[in-house]
Symmetry: C2
Subunit: 458 residues, 2 copies
């Protein structure tokens, strides 16, 4: 037997992590259930990877800042002793494994490793936690779930539309109405930089500025661009585009017309034509109201090569998901160059928004029915009652103490139980159960034989 004292402050979960108690879990399971169901019904297959990856797999993928956030696993036993005894102790000798930082790098590893077993066309979804040693803040956690779909093995826009359809279906089923998939193309962004007469080398810096549009507004972006050496003449050109974007209800065609009237590069023309195709297909799929062409959408990650997209809710400044085409990443992992499109659904953000907007219809974790045995002499018969109620399919709890009815009711009201079925010696003798409806406060007498009917009716 172990005996110890635990200071109460250490009873909280570690900084940046959370305990999910039942009422929270029920909501998480509801959302994850819908996401999985829709992805599966669209032909995406489930996959999971280990929480740990080799540091050789993780490092070099997330940039210098990202890399600092990787949690590393300390060596153990003799291996650790040996490292510590070494006169030239180097940090990197202390560890060779790290915790999963995202779901994309593990996917690339698995696809490269299992090329023969997996089909060259591979549609997978993956819902698992990832870990980042970020400074914890409101809504930012060190352990949080990611929820990714990817299609590997297609260079065609079928992949993009396939993902759009599934994402819209998920949002509909969750109960969102005011959502948009902002759509842009990586090659269009390059073409704009070129069109405006900016140097290719400054492209990344320009994109970083544009990416902040939602947060700092067009004035902020203009200031940012000026500080980066963009001339007033070129800024004027950006302003024309900003102006265009601000026209309320600007039609898709008007936006396209603007680009068609400019001397875009060949890549830029390809990008516009791909956006047109995706828009047409969205119409055919009945989701065109949810797709918005946004030629300034940049998306942070630098591995995108084609269309990029971001899921937004009206009036919310942060995204609830995003993705794009990344045709080089799989090849970079040592295999053949392979077309790929992915989308990461912002599960944690969606949960917060659904809570704020009171979108969860009553979803309580506790079973609606509790059966209470008033003393041990009735248990034998009571267990039959319990089993008969469960046959109706209603979630039914057994109150694990023999208590007075008052105590059971008090507990049941507190936790949200709807019906308490009391079983005492009177009930056993008469074969008639006493059921209290805690919503109405009404007691009913229900013969044992009719218990199925009683609970089926509710």
């Amino acid at each position: 037997m172990w005996r110890f004292i635990v200071a109460s402050k250490t009873l909280t979960p570690p900084s940046g992590t959370r305990d999910f108690l039942p009422n929270e879990m029920v909501k998480r399971k509801h959302v994850i259930g819908i996401v999985s169901k829709i992805y599966e019904s669209h032909g995406y297959q489930p996959m999971e990877t280990p929480s740990m990856e080799r540091l050789s797999v993780l490092l070099g993928k997330y940039g210098e800042e990202g890399e600092k956030l990787v949690f590393k696993i300390l060596h153990r036993g003799r291996k650790l002793d040996k490292v510590l005894e070494s006169p030239n102790l180097v940090k990197k000798d202390l560890s060779e494994l790290g915790l999963r930082y995202d779901l994309t790098v593990p996917l690339a590893r698995v696809y490269s490793h299992n090329g023969n077993e997996l089909s060259p066309i591979f549609k997978r979804y993956q819902i698992q936690p990832v870990w980042r040693a970020d400074r914890p803040a409101r809504g930012r956690f060190r352990e949080f779930y990611q929820c990714d779909v990817d299609i590997i093995g297609s260079n065609e826009l079928f992949a993009e539309i396939d993902i759009f359809i599934a994402v819209c279906e998920i949002m509909d089923l969750l109960g969102f109405k005011d959502y948009h998939l902002l759509l842009n193309h990586r090659k269009l962004l390059s073409a704009i930089v070129e069109l405006f007469g900016l140097k290719k080398e400054s492209e990344t810096q320009i994109l970083i500025s544009l990416d902040k549009l939602d947060k700092i507004g067009r004035e902020g972006v203009s200031k940012d661009l000026t500080e980066k050496g963009v001339s007033p003449e070129i800024l004027e050109k950006f302003n024309e585009l900003f102006d265009l974007m601000e026209i309320k209800d600007l039609s898709f065609n008007k936006m396209i017309d603007w680009f068609d009237s400019k001397p875009l590069s060949q890549d830029g023309k390809t990008a516009i034509s791909e956006i047109k195709i995706l828009h047409e297909w969205a119409e055919n799929s009945g989701i065109e109201n949810h797709i918005l062409f946004n030629p300034l959408l940049a998306r942070g990650l630098d591995y995108y090569t084609g269309p990029v997209f971001e899921l937004r809710l009206e009036g919310e400044s942060s995204s609830v998901g995003g993705g794009g085409r990344y045709d080089d990443l799989i090849g970079d992992f040592g295999g053949r160059k392979t077309g790929a499109v992915g989308f990461s659904f912002g599960l944690e953000r969606v949960l917060v928004l659904m809570e704020e907007r009171k979108m969860f219809i009553e979803q309580i974790a506790i079973a609606p029915v509790t059966v209470a045995f008033l003393d041990t002499s009735v248990v034998s018969w009571g267990l039959k009652v319990l089993s008969k109620i469960r046959e109706t399919g209603i979630r039914t709890d057994l109150f694990p103490r023999s208590s007075s009815p008052g105590k059971v009711f008090k507990w049941a009201s507190k936790v949200g139980v709807k019906f308490v079925v009391l079983i005492g010696s009177d009930e056993k003798e008469s074969q008639v159960l006493t059921i209290k409806n805690l919503v109405t406060g009404v007691f009913e007498k229900v013969p044992f034989k009719e218990i199925n009917t009683f609970f089926n009716m509710d």
Copy 2:
């Protein structure tokens, strides 16, 4: 863009961990789905805890050997620099967090921490991975799922029977028939040690020997006991018990009679009476055929205080789950002494056994229907067909390339798709789809309007 070479050996998951590809995932999801469903229908509520725990919470709970197996998270940034600069570098300064080792200690922490929010009677289930730096071996992993139910807040045997009923229902639904819950009582084991005239101090050693009965047989145990200084006279008494246990189809009552005829201690008498009650209740619940009284069952963990039980399959020497009552553990975490009973379902072992016994009815990850667009001119119409098929509820994939029918069929046969719906310009014009049934090899022509009926019929 990142460019790098990854050696192919590093593409495997880290030692002792696994990638779960879709076909494996479908089986895991099937089993986890049944376990969750039954636990929820019996009133157990879902809970999850962080993957990391403070080492102050983890250490001191799993014994010296267990503690060595805890994965520790290395400090980062300045904190690590500071430790490494220190002239008196001590191992324990390198880390303050570890990965979850089991689900019981986190439960005790959460219950102690959230005492006010949680009901004093708390029935929870939890299905999450745990990590142990064990030497990897066949069937032994460093990351594996545990699947626990616990009832906190009951000192009565209602808790035990509640768990037995749920476990039997899960086993039934998974398709197992030859399973048993071996049942014993911690206090009976102590009483036996006392009855046989052994010293209280030697109890733990005796229990360790008895725990090996399944692995080394009664001769092995006898040898073990002798080495531990048990006299031939006392060994003779153990032999009487071994003999009794070996009688085929020995009735529960005969076994009880044996104990009733002995001068048991008061604790021993209580244990026997509790076992009688549980047996009677099992009869009332229709699960008595699955409950076997086994007075030699020891169960490794030393925190058990009452009934202990172990889930076994006929002819399998290792258990597929186990648990017991632990009335002191919660109190040890700083709260009030609180009755508790728990059971851990051996998910990974069950999956292996179901695979070996071919208990998975065809459960393929790939969607049964694939829609293939033969060229981009048909996509607009094809997307309508796709959406109409999905309305039937059948999982339907979009083949994300425009390929020749031959290539689609080849891929579809390989991965196990059942129907390929071809959409080319002929189909678009005639509004009649070509569907290949890959099981029979037959082609069918199905008018677009009848597509619902076609897939609803299958």
